[in-house]
Symmetry: D2
Subunit: 386 residues, 4 copies
Amino acid sequence: MNRKLKMGMVGGSKDAFIGAIHRMAANLDGQIELVCGAFSSNPAKSRETGESLYLPSDRIYENFEQMILAEAALPEGERMDFVSIVTPNHVHYAPAALALKHGFHVMIDKPLALSMDEAKSLESQVESGGLLLGLTHTYTGYPMIKHARHMIKSGEFGKIRKVYVEYPQGWLSRRKEETGHKGASWRTDPARSGISGCMGDIGTHAENMVEFVTGLRIQRLCAQLNIVVEGRPIDDDGAVLMEFDNGATGVLTASQIAAGEENDLKIRAYGEKGGVEWSHSDPNSLWLKWLDRPAELLRAGADRELSPVAQKNIRTPAGHPEGYIEAFANLYKNFAHQLRARLNNTTPDPDLLDVPTVSDGVRGMAFIEKVVESSNAGGIWIPFIY
Amino acid sequence: MNRKLKMGMVGGSKDAFIGAIHRMAANLDGQIELVCGAFSSNPAKSRETGESLYLPSDRIYENFEQMILAEAALPEGERMDFVSIVTPNHVHYAPAALALKHGFHVMIDKPLALSMDEAKSLESQVESGGLLLGLTHTYTGYPMIKHARHMIKSGEFGKIRKVYVEYPQGWLSRRKEETGHKGASWRTDPARSGISGCMGDIGTHAENMVEFVTGLRIQRLCAQLNIVVEGRPIDDDGAVLMEFDNGATGVLTASQIAAGEENDLKIRAYGEKGGVEWSHSDPNSLWLKWLDRPAELLRAGADRELSPVAQKNIRTPAGHPEGYIEAFANLYKNFAHQLRARLNNTTPDPDLLDVPTVSDGVRGMAFIEKVVESSNAGGIWIPFIY
Amino acid sequence: MNRKLKMGMVGGSKDAFIGAIHRMAANLDGQIELVCGAFSSNPAKSRETGESLYLPSDRIYENFEQMILAEAALPEGERMDFVSIVTPNHVHYAPAALALKHGFHVMIDKPLALSMDEAKSLESQVESGGLLLGLTHTYTGYPMIKHARHMIKSGEFGKIRKVYVEYPQGWLSRRKEETGHKGASWRTDPARSGISGCMGDIGTHAENMVEFVTGLRIQRLCAQLNIVVEGRPIDDDGAVLMEFDNGATGVLTASQIAAGEENDLKIRAYGEKGGVEWSHSDPNSLWLKWLDRPAELLRAGADRELSPVAQKNIRTPAGHPEGYIEAFANLYKNFAHQLRARLNNTTPDPDLLDVPTVSDGVRGMAFIEKVVESSNAGGIWIPFIY
Amino acid sequence: MNRKLKMGMVGGSKDAFIGAIHRMAANLDGQIELVCGAFSSNPAKSRETGESLYLPSDRIYENFEQMILAEAALPEGERMDFVSIVTPNHVHYAPAALALKHGFHVMIDKPLALSMDEAKSLESQVESGGLLLGLTHTYTGYPMIKHARHMIKSGEFGKIRKVYVEYPQGWLSRRKEETGHKGASWRTDPARSGISGCMGDIGTHAENMVEFVTGLRIQRLCAQLNIVVEGRPIDDDGAVLMEFDNGATGVLTASQIAAGEENDLKIRAYGEKGGVEWSHSDPNSLWLKWLDRPAELLRAGADRELSPVAQKNIRTPAGHPEGYIEAFANLYKNFAHQLRARLNNTTPDPDLLDVPTVSDGVRGMAFIEKVVESSNAGGIWIPFIY
């Protein structure tokens, strides 16, 4: 197979932020072409979006059911190879399940589903169908995050003892959901978002980041979730104390009411010999802090000595900043690599297998359920078992 | 009275870090002169220290009891006006109590004492004796901290909703206490440090900072204290979830095993309209983050428009960095101002009354007791009542 | 016309850095598709590159002459709409001139050509042919640069009085050109690079940036060019004092031997009321420094209030960093917009007309000639007339 | 001699910024006591200042002549040991010359004098009298500057090839001198400031910094001085291209009209193997940038491994910021050390001999004369010979 991979999209109409990001991420490296889409539950909007993307009219669908069935009926090589699902949380399960049922691989936005039941159902479908499901925990796509993970795994800091992860945002400091803002509306509506708002939307990114980077697994946690803005039916802020499987402890904070903050996910992990720090506001840098020598500033760059897994996710020399879209594109690029290997019956590069999977998605749903459970019980410690 | 104030010192022998800082802080503004001292429990060391400070030999004492009694016997105007106590925690109470008993005002390092009982006893002595006791929570001396406090009090951010305070250090990542390091030794020895190590030493600074800046009072808390370095008899790391009297929540972290970190106390407080951020690594800056307009960077400087309480604690124009010693000196300068007003029977400037007091010290001891109690009970929420 | 624009490429074989960047930039927004290329003067390499890009074999050409003639012979709608030229400087003129001659619009890497004569010849071809030529002075693609330009033009800082621009790199601190490094080899070879090395390669970016942002025009200059690394036949460092048409002065520095530096182009411009600062290491930020009030940090973001010209070049909300590839993509996106307007006979958005043109390219060549002239004469002031 | 050194002061009345800084710097380390002063040319003001400093009335003088003569008549051990001169430039020479004549050592603010003639005269007086003259080029007092100097001298970066030094201020962006601002008035008045404004006031700091840190000597220079604010009789901005004695080149910029800037003196020096960067806005950090490995961030701190010369100028552990006053105090502390060694007939510590001297002052005056000469001649290259 020597062609671009063909992608269909569910969701992502013209005024949706994240759909456009998915498309740019898929476009960037010239490995994937968008061939069809059901971009909105409103057929006219879906059509308008598809046309603005220069799709032929017969590949613009009225809804995802129509798309999946019609594409399944096309000959191989013409039909889409995988579906990208970029809808709000309550429209994750149905299109993903239907796509998997019809043999399509899936890329899907996080969190995986609306509930643990949905998540587990998708997990078993993926496992039984032998298909790929990639979950866009975007921050795992940053090369310096991959390098931090590599260093920790290699033992360069000794045993990890303490982890801080924070995800402060301020955009929901007021009831933006009452102003017609789409993203704010569904994210603060339990029917569309799930049982948690802030923790479901960004807390899961933080949880995923901690476990991705450190390789540790949360074993117990104690959470305090808050509804800060009056009248909101769902948490917009929270903090979680954590214990990990190696005995280390950690603190996770996430907020949507940290007024004036943007989106600065930050992780710090400290081992016996030193610590590592990464911040989304300066994503091409990685601070190494050492007990016995000066701190070092590692920088992303194709011309830098970094671990292969980092290097394979870098496109520019040092000093030419890559950002959020490139990190996102790394997920698509690596997913495409895995998919192509499967289609060509070749062995994929082991360095390109770290795209978050359906199991990461199940773990994220478990995290949401556990922090809600702990907080509802008054902020008690509970085991992270699911 | 038109002369420098006369200071005696307990502790602070030549090889002690914090004693030298106290002396520089007292020296800086030319308001105070060191006239006597009992610098060590070792008389020879006390003598050697006093001589290196150019003190006359009859004002270098063998111990604090001798000093306090001898000074009390000197005529007014010649004898010391106040005592500065810069010993480890277990030698706070006795000299402070004796000094107060003999009518001397007291400056004392934090935490106030070894236990709540000692702290309360000092509090009643201070109250009954009508004397001044200043507690060196140094960070309250920074002008931008005072300005942040002023802005919050003035309502510029609306109601405060969320507070993060962190105090990461890495210097106890190994058992430095076994290498003969003085500061490490007593700080990790419950007999000399009290029931908490990390929380007593730096957690109390963080607690004091939160309440000083926001004006809020902790009402409930849930703490997790850890002994990370094996064999250490006392916590070297911890995290505290907090609820405040106005309904806001907060997270406090303190660590002495965040390998590679120095001493970067940092506070962030978010209200309805925006947030404020201050970090000890850049103490002359104050970030104002706003919901509806660009972030602003306020800078310390005698030539800047800042609140009077900030201005009265600044010595240089913007761009001429002031640091830790100047913040420390502000405590001494303002304490001296209060003392001078008292001696001269004048009204002190209300802007110079914010030196931490014995009551702040009692509150700090309560914080230590409460976090230990919560943590020992398995990390449960408890009320902050004492 | 409702389809993607079709791009052919000259240069950019698999191991060339900048060719891949051009392709990603063209891919990103889904407005342009690569349809053909002559990727190398080595036909086998060109073929290999084209195949790796999934091009049909009949659109992979052996050289640019073949490509341009063959494409010109294809029917409209099938043939390429424009050529992207990404070769070293000495292979700019010939393909550009031939493409223009055959009616193809051109995107071309900077500097425009090898000499002033070539540059002027291209300028007259463009003007007489009524075609578009876009020059990839990438840094003009950054939204915060566009916003800085907008603010200065709007008079928010008053008259501009002083400008500093610097472009420090360290990658040529050793004779990398002797290690087989392609980019180093041609850049330090006057036959392929032109009369200047450092000033031609990055000094022109700095010159373009100054004039783009401030709207000022250099009127006189005094340059000192240096060959720092022994044996190199061409400048690898330099500094230029400048006078502008409004009486302001400026300083431009560029270096390839600032050992340890990456690629941190930085501009600062000061007017009567304040100044503006932008640095490539933090490209989504713009510092506004004011005489009478605190400095402000403007941040890029689709959710921020910025000038329309900035907003139309932003893809993500604040806190989701965009970088070099996105800036590069803005040049392609805006060039595509202009080209599409022309093909559809519509009026382009005036905010999207700021892609650097052939005239900017001529001015860049003049800059190169003038700094070499001044430096060769011993570092004297000369008028910037051409 | 086992006592504090006795200092007299000329200038520094209550409303002068720099006089107060000198006093705090002298106070800080408890090595020096202020015993007398002629604080103003206005006797009442001098008296008022002296009283506020708790001086006995017979040691508060009406003018410097009176002070020097009266102190010279006092018995040794009672009279002042040295004079600190903190007046505007035009009142440097007379008190310094008189003090030297009467055998007093001198600390003096920079620049040394109003003219080259005055400077040379002081130099010969110092040399013939065998007295100490210290010049307060404050920035040389920073420990990380001393460490940078040490590293360069030790060859850690190889031969230095390029130096950038900048000193941007914005405080004279308007005619502050017309608002009664003292510092602005004399600094912009050639009769009190000398032939240069900006270059004399801060350009000399930059020049001194370059030569102090790199050990290089300027050999040729080309300067452009500007009067930016209309009506001002003296330069308020300028830039200088430099060649050094080892063949390296450099760029120096200084401005008082960089609107919005504070006081961020910054130096960057690049050698064959790497570069070093220091900025006054973060004075406890030193960036080491390397060709072949990650950048390192060295931090000041008594607990850090740094060169002895740096360590001996540090008072606090890492993370406890020291600033401008501490740097200033290092000059006084080291001057006091030298003076004490002389009085005690001991050998001073070689690490404490780097206080700028009268010869540095002469060189600074030469710099002022040369940049004015070059600029007046139209910005030509001239040798730096004097």
